[in-house]
Symmetry: C2
Subunit: 491 residues, 2 copies
């Protein structure tokens, strides 16, 4: 009965860790900060990958693969980038081991030292733009719309499964354009693509906006973000899209000849989402019984559990279950019939609630008599007895309702926990108690932003696109402000 | 007209390199031995991935993801494994860079030295079996059928695009079983799955067999292989499936309680294919005009090229092309209409021949009058004028013919270049001239195998499954032999 899950309201952080491990999503590995993504967790990542990959391809992008290693010197080429990225990273210094002199195990062969150290990619702008230099000569070679699915390493000191790990999986788009306008449009097109995915498929409402200079990607001229509110009142940055200007083109000397025959630097974007999305999924929707996965990214849509006392009942139920499975699969659903005799129905109910399967069907002897099934929704735990006849349309419709209900519920939570605040004490009170999104005025300076962070741990998550201009006074300095920005304590 | 491609018969090796680069499959990167897989090359890998992933899942396997890093000490746990794998590898020794004292760039921070070095995975048996230890307690937890799609690093000294690179992409299956028989069956089931894929989808005939002890995977009790013959008479090992016995279970202490309540070590397999398959594809089929890709793994099945002198003609042709494209796509084909006005038809013909697109349709003004198209096959360069009416069935049928013809051609080549040899001088003559597969008797000793390699560079590719037992004398030592084995000079 999911009894080992810590209560969400008592210790949210422990509840999260328990859930990740007990629902078989991931676990810590023998390597500090690196996780093992277990089959069930990975199957959610495969769903995310498939949906995003399709959306990237529909908008003209293609996939490629660039090296894991980046020569150390590459990081020094873009001044801001080196500050932001090349510090906490995995450094390869040698290329050979040898048997230890004492005969026990292996040691690093000091004769096999690399002339230049290699960094495991913390992001691939540098190695990719070093390649683009040879790929781009003329305006005919543009735009270049490339994405990569890859593993990334950032040597984080404090790690948490999915949310912040030393190694994680992601996609990184890197595009090259002839004009500034085209690159800006691309960065925004991808932002919209991401938001569409996270709202419609993951059922998580987000707020789009610009990052402030302090929070911007190292090397970007503008970083667009989309921010989600978790159930504990903290914000989670779920992805970013960067307009890089000509910074990397200049650092790697990537020029093209325009239609007019003029030589110009190329304009760039980059954008990515990571396995952190699985963390967002858990923290936006799940409850004390376990995961709640929205139908559009659920690896299993429907589980069927038989309830029986003898072989005759079991055979009849299995026949009906198999018919229902076929009907549901014909509608594109992924269906599992759990006929294991090693576990009781109650154990199975708890197990699939823990794993967040959207719909559970239970079939017992009385259902066989009446030609019905018991349908249980994971999102609100409601149960209904439903005729087998037409079950495929009923479940199709139900999955849509669940998807919508999950989004509505998350949106209602966010609305309830978003506050317009004009008083500094009130701001501090919220940040030190309930948390939530706070829309407040800010004077636009880095200094104020940093002081607010020091005093409350809250950061500016974004300058929302859709906040209408509204004159006011900075919540901290009292200086004039043109619009409210979004504050929160973030993961 | 692909004029920059080196002639295949003059310099096969240079022809291969030219083709990989000019067909936009891959290129060398700034990092020694690491390649950039370009979008066209990566789209072939995506086809291979999709087909294999489907086959793995249909046989009950699931995907997961394990860490890139392996603690150095893990390699010492399995005695043979450390000899075979942990030597030429990328070693991470530090986790931080810092600004150089002279203000120029960044240097390794000596204060951030890892207590234990981390190895970039050259294969993942050790880190995976270290996890399995916690996943397996009872026979109910078995079998465990897990696959991983990942990047791998082996610090090869002499590298060639796709065939041998320091970093490459692959899949690695790692399964755990309750009995020896079940594990052996799994290793052979996967071998058959691979062979089915490479013969039916990649149109490359292969010979299945056991590896000799010398050529076995480090840590395996048996390595099953499938070997293909390339157009230059050299063999290419295209994948392997290993029966690992209880070696890794013992090294990582992975035991389970059997149905009978007895504690036993788990039985294991591992198996993998890599981006090397793209190298096999190129070398098995391509010609002096470029790639020839079998329809089942071609990213583009059909390209349509318009031939016109004025706008009126272009508009009529485009209308017809669009209709044909829709018809073909309704049959599941991937179709590209290349209506660029920046390149002439002849340039486009050469370009798509270079890229190996199986079928090219050309539409000119006369075709509009006659309601026909010109159909050109890439595999044998034959051209035919065909009615537009029914074109979708004609091309569907043609793609099947091309697929079969490519396999037949490769099989005929292999048959012609496979020799039963009983004379040592003849053996040496073949190996030093034409190459090819040589079936010869061997006395079963490592010494003879190594001496043959020293004198001719030929190795035993496998002990074929289907070679009937036939008594004879070892081609080198003259000692008794029970069956012929397969020799070749290999990539």
């Amino acid at each position: 009965m999911a009894k080992e899950l810590t209560n969400k309201d008592e210790n949210y952080s422990q509840w999260y860790n328990d859930l990740v491990v007990k629902a078989d999503l991931a676990e810590n590995s023998a390597v500090r900060g690196c996780m093992v993504i277990k089959p069930y967790g990975y199957s959610i990542w495969e769903k995310i990958q498939a949906l995003l990959d399709k959306a990237f391809k529909e908008t003209g992008h293609v996939n490629a693969y660039f090296p894991l290693f980046i020569p150390k010197s590459f990081f020094s080429k873009e001044a801001n980038h080196v500050e932001g990225f090349a510090k906490e990273c995995a450094v390869v210094t040698h290329y050979r081991l040898k048997n230890a002199d004492n005969g026990k195990g292996v040691v690093v062969d000091e004769d096999a030292k690399l002339e230049e150290e290699l960094i495991i990619r913390p992001t691939s702008e540098t190695i990719i733009w070093n390649s683009y230099k040879n790929w781009i000569q003329s305006y005919r070679d543009l735009p270049l719309l490339i994405n990569q699915w890859a593993n990334i390493v950032r040597w984080e000191m404090r790690t948490r499964l999915f949310l912040r790990t030393a190694e994680f999986l992601w996609q990184e788009g890197h595009t090259a354009h002839a004009t500034k306008q085209e690159a800006q449009e691309e960065a925004l097109r991808i932002l919209d693509l991401y938001v569409d995915f996270i709202e419609k498929c993951m059922a998580i409402p987000v707020i789009k906006g610009d990052k402030t200079e302090t929070e911007r990607f190292a090397g970007a001229e503008n970083t667009y973000t989309f921010e989600a509110l978790m159930q504990d009142g903290k914000a989670l940055q779920t992805g970013t899209s960067h307009f890089l200007g000509q910074n990397f083109a200049k650092a790697f000397d990537v020029k093209f000849t325009s239609k007019e025959g003029k030589e110009e630097f190329v304009w760039a974007t980059s954008w990515g989402v990571t396995t952190r999305l699985i963390g967002a999924l858990i923290m936006a929707h799940s409850d004390n019984n376990g995961l709640i996965i929205p139908p559009k990214i659920a690896p299993i849509h429907v589980v069927i559990v038989p309830i029986y006392k003898n072989n005759d009942q079991f055979n009849k139920i299995s026949k009906l279950a198999s018919e229902i499975k076929t009907k549901l699969e014909s509608k594109g659903m992924s269906v599992k019939y759990d006929d294991r005799d090693t576990h009781k129905p109650g154990w199975k109910f708890a197990e699939y609630e823990l794993k967040g399967v959207p719909v559970r069907l239970a079939i017992g002897p009385r259902d066989i008599e009446n030609n019905t099934v018991e349908v249980a929704r994971r999102d609100n735990l409601e149960k209904n007895t439903v005729p087998v006849n037409g079950i495929e349309d009923y479940i199709t419709d139900l999955l849509e309702k669940i998807q919508q209900n999950m989004y509505d519920k998350a949106l209602a939570f966010r609305t309830k926990n978003t506050f317009k605040v004009d008083d500094w004490n009130e701001f501090k009170r919220i940040m030190s108690t309930t948390g939530g999104f706070v829309l407040a005025h800010w004077d636009g300076t880095n200094e104020t932003e940093l002081k607010i962070k020091e005093e409350t741990k809250a950061t500016i998550r974004c300058i929302p696109f859709d906040s209408s201009s509204e004159k006011g006074k900075c919540i901290y300095s009292g200086k004039p402000s043109k619009q409210r920005v979004l504050f929160a304590i973030a993961y």
